[in-house]
């Protein structure tokens, strides 16, 4: 039996630069940063006072009663999933059997805001004031489950968790489910809502967040010599993955094909990346092998590059190790220079951006790259760069604490 082919037939996001795919994509091409000074009361004593909040608050677009029963991470996921689902044109029970419809929607941290606000209520007002909805709101699989409820997905509904690689792992898992014939359609992606003093203090104390107190829009600066850590962002991305014949049979718009994925672990350190990027190299290699991809066909990489001193360099080494001389023909971007780092949502938002880059044949710029680190030998444009016509392949990389490495290869689709 030949392998089932998987294509992307729907896209959705709500990000720090836009409340949907169109506005996000426009902002990315325009090089607009979503990083801002936080204005909450708790910011005063924080070591880091900036973050990239969702450009459109999910409570402004969701029904009030629906929203109050969801952690913010689920709210963001639902907004992104609703857009992707509408974009696909699918209807559960009509154009797809609900029993063959799955969800693989990741989160890095889960419902941390619900957890901590209920702990505040417990301490201040006692156990009676802990919400009866706290558990179904804060559990890590809540976003995936809420999306399942919304679209009527009754195949596997999963939540891969691999820190900042989670969103990309969601796409990889969706690919597996369809290839293994466990589903025909899977809503894939990731979400995160962790702009809260506790996670922010924790990331800051482990020296992961930038402490740059200058203009917030200039702080996320991947590969620049002045980079000193990432900027926390929030948001979600969602892709509808569909088995090719299923998509063709209903005349769906096909954005791209998902060729392959690679997932590996460093087994090096719980938080630091392997300085030589060996685990990431294996993940990228595996994605290309699985997709039977010639390195010469790769024209674009949406890099993980979070603006940390070590990680950005390691990723350059990986691309050189896998692509060899072909690396010179690859247009590399870090959209995190504009969106900040969405943790479990990052790989998902960047998957959406990767697919858009293939469809529109243009790579978003990397902003704030004023003085490129000499240790990085990659073609990283600072303004939008056209991508070549014809059949092309693009890669999306994500790496996470715990040593997680996930690479996914997408190809342009032509009938």
């Amino acid at each position: 039996m030949s392998r089932r082919r998987v294509v992307v037939t729907g896209l959705g996001t709500t990000s720090p630069v836009g409340g949907d795919v169109a506005s996000t994509w426009e902002a990315l091409l325009a090089g607009k940063s979503g990083v801002r000074h936080l204005t909450e009361d708790w910011v005063e004593e924080m070591p880091v006072k900036i973050a990239a909040r969702a450009a459109v608050d999910p409570t402004d677009v969701l029904d009030r009663v629906v929203a109050r029963r969801l952690d913010r991470s689920s709210q963001l996921a639902l907004v992104a999933a609703k857009e992707a689902w509408a974009d696909s044109g699918l209807v559960s029970g009509e154009s797809v059997d609900g029993d063959r419809l799955g969800v693989a929607l990741a989160s890095g941290i889960g419902g941390v805001i619900t957890l901590l606000s209920n702990y505040d209520a417990l301490k201040e007002k006692g156990p009676r004031r802990v919400s009866p909805l706290a558990v179904p709101m804060l559990m890590p699989n809540a976003p995936a489950a809420q999306v399942s409820l919304h679209v009527g997905a009754r195949a596997a509904v999963n939540t891969p968790v691999s820190a900042c690689a989670s969103g990309n792992e969601g796409v990889s898992l969706a690919l597996d489910q369809i290839r293994l014939n466990r589903a025909d359609v899977v809503l894939a992606g990731g979400t995160e809502a962790a702009i809260h003093p506790l996670p922010m203090a924790a990331f800051a104390n482990m020296m992961a967040l930038s402490k740059n107190a200058g203009d917030p829009t200039t702080v996320s600066r991947p590969w620049d010599v002045g980079r000193d850590g990432f900027v926390l962002g929030e948001g979600a991305g969602c892709l509808v993955l569909e088995e090719l014949e299923h998509a063709l049979a209903r005349g769906a718009t096909i954005y791209a094909e998902v060729l392959g994925a690679g997932i590996t672990a460093d087994a090096h350190d719980i938080a630091q990346p392997d300085p030589e990027g060996r685990g990431g190299t294996r993940a990228i290699k595996r994605a290309l092998e699985e997709g039977d991809v010639d390195p010469a066909s790769i024209k674009h990489v949406n890099a993980h590059a979070t603006s940390t001193p070590q990680g950005d360099i390691a990723e350059g080494l990986m691309l050189h190790a896998v692509l060899g001389k072909h690396v010179d023909d690859v247009v590399v971007t870090s959209t995190k220079s504009m969106t900040g780092h969405l943790l479990g949502g990052a790989g998902a938002l960047e998957s959406v951006a990767t697919v858009k880059a293939i469809v529109e044949r243009v790579s978003p710029p990397t902003i704030n790259l004023d003085d490129k680190d000499l240790a990085v030998d990659l073609d990283i444009p600072t303004s939008p760069r056209e991508l070549p016509a014809g059949d092309i392949v693009a890669l999306n990389n994500s790496f996470g604490f715990g040593g997680a490495n996930v690479a996914v290869a997408y190809a342009s689709y032509s009938a």
Partner: protein, 81 residues
């Protein structure tokens, strides 16, 4: 002390907050589960919010006896008397 109507109206506000149901629907003869479609977790939320709003205690064991809006209003009236 609040009148029966004031308690009903206050409770209706809470039901609206939790379920989105129009507050005017929340009349004394309405059953929470049969007429208003309030699920068990929403009921707990409403009860806890009512405890805070009216300064009363409604034990979990008592909640199952509060079948209608009138039952709840009566219980709150009795407790705050």
């Amino acid at each position: 002390m609040a009148s029966t109507e004031e308690i009903r109206a206050g409770l209706a506000e809470l039901v609206n907050e939790v379920t989105g149901l129009d507050a005017d629907e929340v009349q004394l003869d309405k059953s929470f589960t049969e007429d208003l479609d309030v699920d068990s977790l929403s009921m707990v939320e409403i009860v806890v919010a009512a405890e805070e709003k009216f300064g009363v205690t409604i034990p979990d064991d008592e909640v199952k006896n509060l079948k209608t809006v009138g039952d709840a209003v009566g219980y709150i009236e009795k407790q705050s008397a």
